[in-house]
């Protein structure tokens, strides 16, 4: 543990912390200007999350897909790729897990649950593989292709549900209990929140990213190719395959995020006419977490807390929930501008010395 602590660069840790504080301060200023009570607003967030088991449970529940989406983005980022397609990968993962669960509803839980989770990961993998292939073979920039893939996923899943798995309420039927991650134990523990066992999957994913990227030869290769395809090629690595693999792995994480929604939170999939936003939030989570596994957990918790708490903020302090979105945007801006924060602190500390 102490070894890990020693490795932390305190300056880099400073940036996200300062960014969060600045973001919340800006949010407070906005509330003051408009005439809301920022103390009450933030208090309601904190109190609900920490004092009311229901909101605590919901926060952890919201963390699960956010973490997986964040891991997906961070993983790709560490291998030199920007995966904006998490949203689409998540949708197909969601669909595949639910479809698998429904189609094989006669199977016992020990088989069906892992199988449905795997189906979600596999669908996400496919959705990541395609832009990977396009990049490796045709040099199509992943930013553009993943955006395109998002829309294709949105319309395709809607179409598939509508035509093959439709039930009243614009959604698929509910999955069988044998495929469900939901748990009455966890729900009872948290006053009936939707907290489910998916957090185990999310934690495994976090570990997998850390171990995979930094402790394995494949991870070394993926990072090398990400940083310098040319040098990697000269060193005898298969560049194309690694690019494809990287987006495929990233897609698996995203697909699992979708499976968690399908098998845990909802137990079905709705026909989405717009994006869930989890994928895009995943970008923010990854950034704030400095694309590190542990960082993703922490920032995932923060975002989930803000979102869940945002609803109490709406009901308790009357502040529109959009304010949360504004705060999140500001935090991303601040994290992105880390250079300036560092610079400003450099100035401050130098002045302090003089």
């Amino acid at each position: 543990m102490s070894r890990i602590l020693k490795k932390i660069n305190w300056m880099t840790l400073l940036i996200p912390v300062v960014s969060v504080i600045l973001g919340l301060l800006c949010g407070a200023v906005i509330m003051l200007i408009i005439g809301y009570n920022p103390v009450l607003a933030y208090q309601s967030i904190v109190e609900s999350i920490f004092l009311q088991p229901y909101y605590g449970g919901e926060t952890i529940r919201a963390m699960i897909p956010l973490m997986l989406a964040g891991i997906a983005v961070a993983f790709a980022f560490r291998t030199g790729l920007f995966n904006i397609g998490v949203e689409g990968q998540l949708l197909v993962g969601w669909f595949a897990s639910v479809a698998c669960a429904i189609c094989f509803d006669h199977l016992p839980k020990v088989i069906l649950l892992p199988m449905s989770i795997t189906a979600g990961g596999a669908a996400g993998a496919l959705w990541g593989f395609i832009p990977g292939l396009l990049k490796a073979r045709f040099k199509v920039h992943e930013v553009i292709s993943t955006i395109m893939m998002n829309y294709i996923a949105l319309y395709t899943t809607a179409y598939l549900i509508k035509n093959f798995l439709y039930t009243e309420g614009e959604r698929t039927p509910t999955i069988p209990a044998a495929a469900s991650l939901a748990s009455t134990f966890l729900a009872d523990l948290t006053q009936g929140s939707r907290l489910h066992w998916g957090f185990v999957v999310a934690i495994i994913a976090v570990f997998a990213m850390w171990f995979g990227l930094w402790k394995t030869t494949k991870g070394y290769e993926l990072r090398a190719v990400g940083f310098s395809p040319d040098a990697s090629k000269y060193a005898g690595m298969n560049v194309s395959r690694n690019i494809m693999l990287s987006l495929t792995f990233s897609g698996i994480f995203a697909g699992l995020g979708g499976a968690m929604e399908g098998l845990g939170t909802y137990q079905y999939m709705t026909i989405n006419s717009a994006f869930t936003g989890i994928g895009f939030n995943g970008i923010a989570v990854a950034l704030l977490g400095l694309n590190t596994p542990l960082g993703v957990v922490l920032s995932g918790a923060l975002f989930a807390g803000l979102q869940t708490g945002g609803m109490t903020m709406q009901s308790e302090a009357g502040v529109p929930v959009e304010l949360i979105q504004i705060i999140i945007a500001l935090i991303i801006f601040f994290v992105g501008s880390g250079y300036v924060i560092k610079w400003a602190f450099g100035r401050l500390s130098r002045k302090g010395h003089k």
């Binding site: 040098a231 000269y234 005898g236």
Partner: protein
Amino acid sequence: MSYAIEMRNIRKEFPGIVANDDITLQVQEGEIHALFGENGAGKSTLMNVLFGLYQPDQGEIYVHGKKELINDPNDAARLGIGMVHQHFMLIDKFTVAENIILGREPKKHGVLDMAKAVKIVKKLSEKYGLDVDPNQKVEDITVGMQQRVEILKTLYRGSDILIFDEPTAVLTPIEIKELIEIMKRLVGEGKSIILITHKLKEIFEACDRCTVIRRGRNIDTVAITDTNPNDLASMMVGRKVNIQVNDAPYDPKEKVLEIEHLNVLDSRKVDVIKDLNLTVHGGEILGIAGVDGNGQTELIEAIAGLRKVKDGSIKINNDDVTNQKTRKIIEAGLGYIPEDRQKHGLVLDFSVGENMVLQTYYKKPYAQAGILHNKVITKKAKQLIQEFDVRTPSERTLARSLSGGNQQKVIVAREVDRSPQLLIAAQPTRGLDIGAIEFIHGKLIEEKKKGKAVLLVSFELDEILHLSDRIAVIYEGHIIDIVDPKKTDENELGLLMAGRKKGGSEA
């Protein structure tokens, strides 16, 4: 007496490093002034200060005797200072004319007047004998011509003080000769030139005086007539320099590399290697001499499996590796110091340590069953850093932040340490200072002594002549002749490189 340029007590700090420390440089009107120093001595930094790209932390600059503040390149241009940068500052997708006029465009009613621009460029190029085609895109012209475009850019802006930052590193001997002539012509017109180069020969051929700097500090300024190459070299390095020569006896062993009837296409599907035959033995350094673009790059890439072979065979240690995967060829015994060290040799955003195992990371003892053994890797890196004298704060430092010479040392360390049967060294000392060159030459000779085969590709005839046991001259994609370095000279090699075989017959 007033100097064209006088920089007094210049200090420039970068985070963690003092690049220039109290440097003074005086350039007389109408002279070619050499700036000489090892890699990372602070030459480019000093010139960037003069050109307004960096602000000095301390010191003063006088131009034609008047104290000036140079805040940006516009100020420099106003003062008549022009610079040809170490890395060309040209926009590939623009035409030659567009590159030259950019920032000072001829206009008609607020619209670009390209016809006029082309005319201006033509006129300028005729006046100074700098042959360029204004309408060609920069990406389509040779490095030599790009160099001329850079010079024209400065002349278009009316500069009378020209800075050349290592202009010859990427030029062929012939182009270098031309460049020196051009510089002399410019000086004849009353312009003053600062020339940065690592090649002593050029300094003695072209320059009037020379300022030597070492580790960011001034050492001395001397008139060229008052010094000699050896003195200058040791002044720069701070110790005596031993020019490394290949004095080990030539004792060829079994064939390591065997190329037969090789045919290779280039990226435009044109034959670049035509029926090439070549054999390299253990215990020899085989030098390949040739003018750039005669197939050297393609030959190496074909050997390394980076380029498809159309016809013929390549064997390493009797293993047929034709069109095999690069990794297999590496495992068969290939080591490779690539020409472009930053692009091909290193993952710049990896640490020095990670770069040390770029080909071996998946093998024992660095890994087992797909799991990295980071401790072993770190230990190895530390050992190599020590052994090869890589100047880096630690093995965790990013390769990007190393100076060019030290980056090259990392590559050499890695390749030599793997002790490959065949070591290809492509332009291994390009842009390096004498100290570093000495070191790398020493390592190549050591490999030969160990009985390894070394294939050396270089545009530096000196280097080829000094190191090789045999010299193969490549011309238009095949080996036109193989000569003994002891029985040949630069003249004969030059003729061969131009395609003329002994006896004057055209090949």
